[in-house]
């Protein structure tokens, strides 16, 4: 609803096309929008209030920079303040006597058991000797769940039937110590912070084994109660960190702000899928733009930056912006995009409406469509690629034959290409810009989040699941599907790109 915060702020400030200082009135008007955006993102009411107050204090009286529109300036302050509140990512604390104990706690169904297994996998890859302990004797098959995951990972899971959790964990600790394990991860039962008996139980566990980390595992979809929950756990236990799970969905994750404000403990990991490699380190800038409803644009940019051949891209871009964008450039772009990874993942990262649209699209079909476009351009002569205007009906027939497609398909590719070209031209008119400018989001792009393990581009659960997808999308839909990617640099996020550019100009 408030996906377009920047746009709304632009409307607010439209009337104030003037220079000078941000007045209280300007800022108040802007803050109303910011407030709504944050509430929509599930940031707690009171936390929003305090936050808005802080931003207001910073903003009022600031000189409006020459390069920025007032809306942009406010967004920048909001964004910086959000990043600041979210805080820097911190690694796990693995100091103290071995085995170091990681205690996972949280509400029912928040993702503790899955996260325990993910952490076990992650730490083993870092050379730790890990043991798990199943301290949830209550929920049906909770123990089997952890045991199954342990088996998958080939990591031992400690459990004894009929032993109360504090004693069980103490025994596991002894066993781990004797066995030369360096880390013991404790999976506990889900509990409400209001449940005195269960809160006492987990306190008792903490007392017996003195954990190096007490991690609160929170579902990213949680609403206003995040604050009460965090307070409850904070009061009962020496929390040391947060894990925000189910970040692979489209929840904005505003609870992160609430919980950070309440507990002050750092966010240590994000859960981004059901599979055991779907654990990521967290990046405050990416999370901040997500909470503001800007999608994971920065994440996408990061991927692009990793994959793109910078120099080639720069060179290409300069030419594109001068309107010299050939079909060859288009093909090059497609190939670059393919390097970004499975197209499904890329589509999922698109922000707002675009993202919602993209999710209606079958990634496999999109992938196929990309291949088709590639085949069509490959079937053209060099001259045709550089001067597409010479492609007449008979050439089209030849190209279609050569690529095993139809003339209609060829037309569609040409149409897409012309559209991309137009977009680039428009971008070019906005002023000089290099790729760095286009992709240079907020406040520099250093310190991106990254998968907790760099073990290759899997983690695409789509592959692990039997696909029941049936080809239902029309060619048009598929064409649309293919489009966000080739023009990932520009077209689908035209507005965003423009915004970034303007924002960048100030630096």
């Amino acid at each position: 609803m408030f996906d377009q915060l920047t746009e709304r702020l632009n409307q607010v400030f439209d009337k104030i096309r003037r220079r000078g200082r941000l007045t209280e009135k300007d800022v108040d008007a802007a803050m109303r929008e910011v407030r709504l955006a944050l509430l929509e993102a599930d940031v707690h009411y009171q936390v929003v209030k305090d936050f808005v107050q802080r931003v207001k204090e910073r903003a009022v009286g600031q000189e409006i920079s020459r390069a920025l529109l007032p809306a942009q300036q406010v967004i920048k302050i909001v964004y910086e303040e959000l990043v600041h509140t979210l805080g820097e990512p911190e690694p796990l604390n693995l100091t103290g006597p071995k085995p170091r104990v990681l205690l996972l706690v949280g509400l029912q169904g928040s993702g503790k058991t899955t996260t325990a297994a993910k952490l076990a996998r992650h730490l083993r890859r870092q050379g730790e000797r890990v043991m798990l302990v199943a301290a949830d004797p209550y929920r049906p098959a909770a123990v089997q769940q952890l045991q199954t995951l342990g088996q998958q990972l080939d990591i031992p899971v400690y459990y004894e039937e009929g032993v109360p959790p504090p004693e069980l964990v103490a025994r596991a600790h002894r066993q781990a110590e004797q066995g030369g394990y360096t880390v013991l991860i404790v999976d506990t039962a889900g509990r409400s912070q209001l449940d005195d008996r269960l809160m006492q139980e987990v306190q008792e566990i903490a007392r017996r084994v003195e954990p190096a980390e007490v991690l609160l595992v929170v579902d990213a979809m949680i609403g206003q109660e995040a604050v009460a929950v965090a307070q409850g756990f904070r009061d009962a236990l020496p929390l040391t960190g947060l894990v925000l799970t189910k970040m692979d969905g489209d929840a904005r994750g505003g609870a992160a702000i609430s919980i950070r404000s309440v507990t002050g403990v750092p966010i240590k990991f994000l859960g981004t899928g059901e599979k055991l490699d779907a654990l990521e380190t967290y990046d405050p800038q990416r999370l901040a733009s997500r909470i503001l409803g800007m999608g994971d644009v920065l994440g996408l940019i990061q991927k692009a930056e990793e994959a793109l051949d910078q120099e080639e891209a720069e060179r290409q871009l300069e030419r594109m912006l001068r309107g010299q964008f050939t079909l060859e450039d288009y093909l090059n772009q497609l190939r670059q995009v393919r390097k970004l990874g499975p197209i499904g993942k890329i589509l999922e990262m698109l922000p707002g409406d675009l993202g919602r649209m993209a999710r209606q699209v079958d990634p496999q079909q999109a992938e196929q469509q990309l291949k088709k476009v590639e085949a069509i351009i490959n079937s053209m002569t060099r001259e045709e690629r550089q001067r597409p205007e010479i492609i007449n009906a008979s050439r089209k027939r030849r190209i279609a034959r050569g690529s095993g497609t139809t003339v209609q398909d060829v037309n569609e590719v040409l149409r897409q290409y012309r559209q991309a070209k137009r977009v680039f031209k428009q971008l070019g008119r906005l002023g000089p810009a290099g790729l760095g400018r286009l992709f240079g989001g907020f406040g520099g792009l250093g310190g991106f989040g990254a998968p907790a393990d760099f073990d290759g581009p899997d983690g695409d659960e789509a592959e692990a699941w039997p696909s029941a997808a049936e080809p239902t999308t029309s060619l048009r839909t598929r064409a649309r599907a293919a489009r966000p990617t080739p023009k990932k640099k520009a077209a689908p996020k035209r507005k965003k790109v423009k915004k970034k550019k303007k924002k960048k100009r100030r630096r």
């Binding site: 993102a41 009171q46 209001l194 609403g223 206003q224 109660e225 692979d248």
Partner: protein, 307 residues
Amino acid sequence: MRNWLNKWREGLARTRKTTFGRLAQLLGATEITAETWDDLEALLIQADLGVELTLDLLERLKARVRREGITRADELQQVLMEELRALLQPPPAIEYPERPTVILVVGVNGSGKTTTIAKLARRLQNEGRSVLLAAADTFRAAAIDQLKVWGQRLGVPVVAGQPGSDPGAVTYDAVRAAQARGSDVVLVDTAGRLHTRYNLMEELKKVRRVAGKAQPGAPHHVWLVLDATTGQNALQQARAFKDAVGVTGVILAKLDSSAKGGMAFAIQRTLGLPILFVGLGEGPDDLATFDPDAFVQGLLEPDRKAA
């Protein structure tokens, strides 16, 4: 007093102290001031009603206050209750048009589907209906075991396949088994899935289709289990599941937590989906029929009544 209502009250009583106590204070016999409105806004937002609905409600209240010449804050409470209540429909009676009646239970990860199925099975048993459970979550570790444990505890048969097998096939087998046994109801437990995952939503559509192949007309109900602690995302979830598999009703699990479940209002209003049941604990009896009056009262009732 009916048993479930007590249960409901017990579940909610724990949480009331904090917010609702304040409302009692807030809506005491004082003049309505700007602060009253601010506090009301805080209350509604903090109950997860969402910005849009909250602002809407406040507008309506203000209009009524003007129109009806209300000046005291305690009179406002009645009006607020009416407005909130008007947003909710009482749950329709559940129909069991065929034997077996097939009910597909869906939702995001960890929302409470499997536990809710156990509770529904218990409830159906109490009503004298025979139940069969289908373990169509073949993906999550030990999800099948979890349902089987419940089946054993309740004495209800469970049809399951191998971990990793096709959930559609399990569903088919379960419906066929229920036909053979003459079971009244089949409850299909599906894997948790985020509504944004294309492939998984397609998979769910397939499960739905397969149920229909095993028995024309099935599934007769598709129930979405939402976690009451969920914030604004709940609406997106409900919309996506409704679009994909034609959800016919919503179950609000974990309402015994400190959350108020306010997103139920937006879901009913925007999507027209009835709330059927609420989950009030982890045991098989912790399920109550949704009662709009109790729900609204739970949001607003001052402390003294809760005690």
